[in-house]
Each structure stands twice: as C-alpha cells, then as structure tokens.
C-alpha cells in the first residue's frame, strides 16, 4: 500500500509543477515580451514576430509534452488500481433479495441512527424518507444518552436513580449494575478524601446488597485503611482506570436488554460481519457461477464463514464424526463419558441395537446407547 501511495505522490508532484508554471502564463509572457519589443522598437516588427512564432512553438511543445506525461502516468495509475483492488463485489449480490423491502431497510437505518445517539440525523432521515420513528424508542434512547453523558463526567446520580427504579428488572437478569454504581460512588468519595461521607454512604446503600456481595463489601470497607497509598496496596485494582468505561458499557448493555434490544446496533454488527465475510462470499459466488449454479438459490451456504467470538449468537453443533450440523431430527447426544455426537452417528456406532456396548470414538470408555442422553445447548 505504501509504494502505491508513493507512486501517486510522484504524479501529484508533476501536476503541481505544471500548476505553478502555468502554461497560459508562459504563453502570455512570451506574447507580452514581443509586444513590449515592438513598442520600444517599431522597426523590429518582422523579426520580433518571427521570433514570437518560434518561441510559441517551443513553449507549446513543452506544454503538450508535460500534459501528455501526466495523462499517461494517471492512466497507468488507474490501470494499476484495477489490478490491485480486484474484488468483483457484484458477483456476490442477489439483486432481488431485498425487493419490496426498502421500507424495512430504511426503518432499520433510522433506528440505527437513534441507537447511536445521532438524533438529528435520524430525524432528518425520517423526514426525507417519510418514515416515522416510534417516539417511545426515541425517548428511551435520549434518556440513555443523557445518563451516559453524565457517566462520562463521573456523575453517577442519574444512572443510580435509573438503576434503583429498575431494580427488579435488573435482578431478573442477574445484573450487578446497581451495586457497581454504588461501589463506584463510594470509591469516588473515598478518593476525594471525604471519609465520613463515604462511610455514611456505605451504611446507607450497601445494606441491601449485603447477601450477594459480601466479599466485595468487606474489601471496600477495608480499603479505607490504605486510602492514602492505595496504588501500592492490595486494593489497587479498585481504582483501575478503565472502571468508568466498564460501567458505561455495562449500563448501556443493561439498558438495552431491559427494553428488549441488543447491546450493539444490529445494523453495525451485520455490516461488520458482512465486510469480513465478503471476500469468501465473492470467491464462492464466482466458483458457483462457473458451475452454473446460483448461490442465492441454495438453502444453505456451501462454505463456512468464520465469525469472531463476539458475533457468535447461537450455538452450532457440528458432529465431530459426521461433520454434519445438528438438527431437530438429528440432535446431539451425550454418551456416558461426556463426549457428544449426533444421534445418527450414535446409531451407526451401536448398529441400531440399544443394548450393545460400544467404545466412544474419542476415549476408551464404553457405554450403551440407552445410557446416552439428549443435551440441549
């Protein structure tokens, strides 16, 4: 990539020199020179004009050389671009997959803007497309962004109020958000040397969390002793620098899950996964085109697209023996030793009889088909 940029720089340089030594200026200078000479010495008209004719020719030859050179370098560069950036993206598209679904796509985009906090852009888009964004969603996200903005400035009050209000919902999801917020506030007071206030705060707020966060509370109270040099104490981790970012993230995640939405904008997730998947899809589509099959008519993609861990949302079980994906008719079964294979492979191993002892393909342990249990991922 670097050498590519260097080549471009060379072209730019040539063009800049042509700009500073403007061809029109050169011609104007030559004509003016001749004009001045004739004014000064009218008798030299013929010779001056002859000289002028010649110098125009020289100058214009020079100009057209330079221009040709730049044009040819640019066109070579353009061809080099074609060679370097070769993906034929249109091979991988199914032009009819989104037919008649424009409105769904557009409302997804509008919601994406709201989720990212770009309210002005979301409104402009809604106006231009004629869609309406559900007001409730807009209000909720505005509230969320207000609270996050406050968190960014170390103001935990709005978040705390929200967390207390939604205590039962958070508990149902096993979220520790409320306690973490109180903990952060307590540490803020402590680090600000307001020891009395910190203790009072702890007395007031930690009691409710006594059962579930006992150890943590012990640590927090003991850290008062090390208040002055906490960084060198065993409690240094309490004031690690990314705790604020973690709390913001946790708050965003819990807020979204309480209103039934995903943590990240789904559009962002799909597009990021799509970008990574595209090179593979393009290769696959071109191979399929050569074989005269349409990739979009298949029920299932013929190749595996590798996903990063944070984009794996469903369990996929592929039997290690048959390499087939588990389905309702062919569910995963766990044998007595703890290894899991799909039902069909299991049946093949025990040859249909449910009382035959067979050896697990992966360990020396033997078991019977009737001992195998269904597992649910």
């Amino acid at each position: 990539m670097e050498s590519f940029i260097k080549d471009y720089d060379k072209i730019i340089k040539k063009q800049r020199t042509l700009e500073t030594n403007d061809p029109l200026d050169r011609l104007i200078a030559v004509v003016n020179e001749a004009k001045e000479k004739i004014r000064a010495d009218p008798s030299s008209v013929t010779s001056t004009l002859a000289v002028l004719g010649k110098s125009i020719k020289t100058v214009s030859n020079g100009i057209s050389e330079e221009q040709k050179e730049i044009q040819s370098s640019l066109s070579k560069y353009s061809k080099a671009i074609d060679k370097k950036f070769t993906a034929d993206m249109m091979a991988a598209i199914n032009p009819h997959a989104f037919d008649n679904k424009e409105n769904i796509l557009r409302s997804t985009i509008a919601m994406h803007f709201i989720r990212q906090g770009n309210f002005e852009i979301g409104d402009t888009f809604a106006k231009e497309t004629g869609l309406t964004v559900p007001d409730s969603m807009r209000h909720q996200f505005m509230e969320m962004f207000d609270i996050v903005a406050a968190l960014k400035e170390d103001n935990l009050e709005p978040a705390l109020q929200w967390a207390t209000r939604h205590r039962s919902g958070l508990e149902k999801r096993s979220s520790t958000l409320e306690f973490k917020l109180h903990r952060q506030r307590y540490l803020q007071l402590l680090m600000g040397r307001q020891v009395q206030e910190a203790i009072a705060y702890a007395r007031k707020n930690f009691a409710y969390f006594g059962n579930r966060h006992t150890q943590e509370i012990f640590r927090l109270m003991c850290s008062i002793i090390y208040m002055d040099h906490i960084k060198t104490s065993p409690y240094a981790d309490l004031i690690a620098p990314n705790t604020n970012a973690d709390i913001q993230h946790m708050f965003t995640r819990d807020f979204c899950s309480l209103i039934g939405l995903s943590c990240d904008s789904p559009l962002y997730v799909s597009v990021t996964v799509g970008t990574q998947a595209m090179p593979t899809m393009i290769k696959m589509a071109s191979i399929m085109k050569a074989k005269k099959t349409e990739w979009s008519q298949q029920q299932e993609l013929p190749v595996e697209i590798n996903l990063t861990d944070d984009t794996k949302f469903h369990s996929v079980f592929a039997c290690p023996v048959s390499k087939e994906q588990a389905t309702e008719e062919n569910p995963p079964m766990m044998m007595g030793c703890g290894h899991v294979i799909c039902k069909e492979s299991l049946q093949k191993l025990c040859r249909g009889s449910s009382n035959l002892r067979f050896k697990c393909p992966y360990c020396p342990q033997e078991s019977m088909a009737s001992q195998a249990k269904n597992v649910y991922f």
């Binding site: 990539m1 063009q15 029109l24 011609l27 104007i28 004509v31 004009k35 004739i38 009218p42 004009l49 002028l52 125009i56 057209s64 221009q67 640019l74 353009s78 671009i81 950036f85 199914n94 997959a97 679904k101 769904i104 796509l105 409302s107 919601m111 852009i121 402009t124 888009f125 231009e128 579930r212 939405l261 990240d264 789904p266 559009l267 962002y268 997730v269 799909s270 597009v271 996964v273 799509g274 970008t275 595209m278 979009s296 993609l301 595996e304 990063t308 984009t311 794996k312 949302f313 469903h314 369990s315 996929v316 079980f317 995963p332 766990m334 703890g338 899991v340 992966y362 597992v375 991922f377």
Partner: protein
C-alpha cells in the same frame, strides 16, 4: 482467528479509490483540451499577423493592438479555467486522503482492537451515505458526512449533477438528460449505451401523445433516423403511434404510451451514470448486508424459544425480515454459546451439563452458585440443582 487479512479486505475498495482518480483525470483532460485549442488558435493568429505585417497591411501600432488582444484572450481563458482547476485540486487531494485512509487500515493488527471498531464504524457510515445518496436522501447524507468528518471519503458532489438530470426526467423533460449524453458521448459509446435513443424515442412519443403529427414526423426524420442501423424495429414500432390515439386499448401501443416509461428512463440513466463514474451498480450496503445476514443466519433465528436479542437476524421486524430469502450459514466446526452469559464455551470456560441435559458455561454456573449458596437454577426449565451435580461435556 482474530488476525485481519488486509489484502482481502482492501480488495473490496475499488470504487473508493477509482472514483476520485478518474474524476481527477477527466477534469485534467478538460483543461488540457482547452489549452490545446487555444494554442492552435494562437499559432494561426500570430502567423496571420506576421503575414499581414510583412505584406505592409498592418503597421507596428496595429500589431501591438493585435498582440494585446491575444493576451486578453489568454487571460480570459485562464479565469474560465479556474473552476476546472479547483475541481482538479479537489479530486487529487481527495485521492490522497483516501489512499492514506487505506494505509491506516493496514496498520490495524486484530479484529478485536479498538482501532478496528473505529475503522468499521467509518466504513459503515461510508456505505450508509452511499446508499442514501443513491436514493436521493442528500440532506441526511451531507449531515452525516459533516458530523463524522468524512466528507473526503464520500462522493456527495457527484450526485448533485445527476440529481438535476433525474429531477428533470421526473418532470418529464428530456432536455437535461440529452445535454448530459452529449457531454459524455465518448464514454457512453464505450459502454454501448442506448440511453440517447431511448430519450429521443420518448420525446417522439410525447409529440404523438399530443397529436402534433407534423412535428413528430419532422422530429423522427431528424433524430430517430440516425439510429436506423441498430434500432430500426423500435423506430417502426414507435412510428405506428401516429395512427393510434393515446386512449388506445391496443396493447403494444398502450404500453408505449404508458407514463411508467419515464421511470424506466430514470433507471437507465442511473445505471449508465454509475457505470461511467465507476460506482457499483447496486448499493454497497445491500451487498454487505446480504453477506453478513447469511453468515449469521441459523435455523434457530426464526424459532421463538431460541431467540437471542443480540443476534441481528433474530429480530423479526427489521433484519430478520430482510434475511428471509437468504441462505443459511454453514458450519463445520462447533461453537457453543452459553444461554446465561452469552459467552463462548471453550477450554477457558468449559461447557457443563446439568442432570437434565441442559448445558451452560462453567463460569456462569459458578457465579450463579456463589450468589445462591451453591445452588443453581436452570433458566430454561426452572429445575434446581447443586453445583456439585454438573458434569463436563466434550464437544469435539
């Protein structure tokens, strides 16, 4: 797994770099052509002055005046070319910015770094702007580009010109589009475009609609006959309209009179315009989304009890609805996701089976037990067990 294959991902960026380079080239060509023409005029004018002066038909004073006139001409041209020069600068600078943006990308090491997330967001905004510009939502696109400071990474200006032509076509006026065809004649010929013929055809149809038969015939003589070598059949069809009034029920002619032909013209103009400027024929958003949704789609996404709120395809109102016609993803390797924590189960976070056969990750179960006196509750069945009752599961 988390390493980025830079070459592969960069190869997707052909339009990104090609578009400004080609714009740079074409504005450069425009100014160069003007200069070449001017030089030709200049040379012939000077040689004429020379001849006249030698023949005694021009005295030195007149020569001076003539030379002055030449200088004025050159200065005027220089002023006229100022705009073209500004355009050249814009595109040459823009190409540089984009090349540097791609260069930055090559320095990002892994898929889970913050830098990659930031670069991904920029890319998402870029393709959203591309999508919005194609459908005419210029206000939002401009606003988004400005607020994210990515004006150089998108091509808003290129859509301003085409918007004018499209609006004219929507008002049922072919003139602007014909002008555009004239300006881009050579490139349109290269892609074998029939847009100009379609426009002439439509203008003839409109004359026939208003029963201005004499004008229609004259128009056909002037503008349709040049196309007789390639489009004789269409020409003879359309001439037939002179015999049928606009209210005709006769099918082929009814179709010719149909107003929806204007929409077809707009589509044809758009696709020619995109081809000329090296845009992809379909929005990048569509391609990318299809790839992503297919890669994420599993049979479980459409089953209510397997819904994961974080999975984009599971949402039936938005992306789930878009993904219905796309193929499912395919996997040779297992990956198990814990229903409690959403984490992947692997050697750092072993999958554990409860006595009822439901599997969760060790970390999630341990945390649950530590908050509940060693007892765990299966979230899906409600059954309660002790943490000591869980068993290791081996999936590969």
């Amino acid at each position: 797994m988390n390493k980025i294959n830079h070459e592969q991902l960069l190869s997707l960026e052909h339009p990104f770099v090609k578009i400004p380079v080609e714009k740079f080239r074409s504005s450069l060509r425009v100014s160069q052509k003007h200069i070449e023409k001017e030089i030709a005029t200049l040379t012939s004018t000077v040689s004429e002055i020379s001849k006249k002066s030698i023949q005694g038909n021009m005295d030195p004073k007149q020569v001076e005046v003539a030379l002055e006139a030449i200088v004025t001409r050159l200065s005027t041209l220089k002023r006229k070319l100022k705009d073209t020069r500004a355009e050249e600068s814009l595109y040459s600078q823009r190409t540089k910015v984009r090349l540097q943006h791609l260069q930055e990308f090559t320095t990002i090491p892994t898929l889970d770094s913050d830098d990659f997330a930031r670069w991904s967001r920029v890319r998402l905004n870029r393709i959203l702007i591309d999508y919005m510009l194609r459908d005419g939502f210029r206000e939002t696109a401009t606003l988004l580009a400005k607020s994210e400071h990515i004006e150089d990474l998108v091509d808003i200006e290129l859509f301003v010109q085409s918007a004018k032509v499209e609006q004219a076509l929507m008002r049922q006026s072919c003139a602007e589009c014909l002008q555009w065809c004239k300006e881009n004649n050579s490139s349109l010929k290269k892609i074998k475009s029939t847009l100009e013929f379609s426009l002439r055809e439509q203008e003839f149809i409109e004359l026939a609609r208003e029963r201005r038969s004499q004008e229609a015939i004259a128009y056909a003589k002037k503008h349709l006959t040049p196309w007789k070598d390639t489009h004789l059949k269409e020409i003879s069809h359309v001439m037939g309209l002179l015999a049928f009034p606009p209210e005709t029920k006769c099918h082929p002619y009814k179709r010719l009179y149909d107003k929806s032909r204007w929409n077809d013209l707009i589509t044809q103009f758009r696709s020619n315009n995109f081809a000329l400027q090296f845009f992809t024929p379909e929005p990048l958003l569509n391609v990318t989304l299809q790839a992503g949704l297919s890669a994420l789609k599993t049979p479980m996404c459409y089953q209510a009890d397997h819904r994961n709120i974080n999975c984009p395809v599971c949402d039936p109102n938005t992306l789930g609805a878009l993904a219905t016609d796309l193929p499912l993803s395919h996997h040779f390797n297992s990956s198990i996701v814990c229903r409690i924590s959403g984490q992947i189960m692997n050697e750092d976070n072993l999958p554990m089976a409860l006595p009822n056969g439901y599997v969760y990750s060790y970390n999630a179960l341990a945390e649950m037990a530590s908050l509940n006196n060693g007892k765990i509750t299966c979230p899906r069945t409600g059954a309660i067990y002790d943490i000591t009752q869980i068993k290791k599961v081996f999936i590969s």
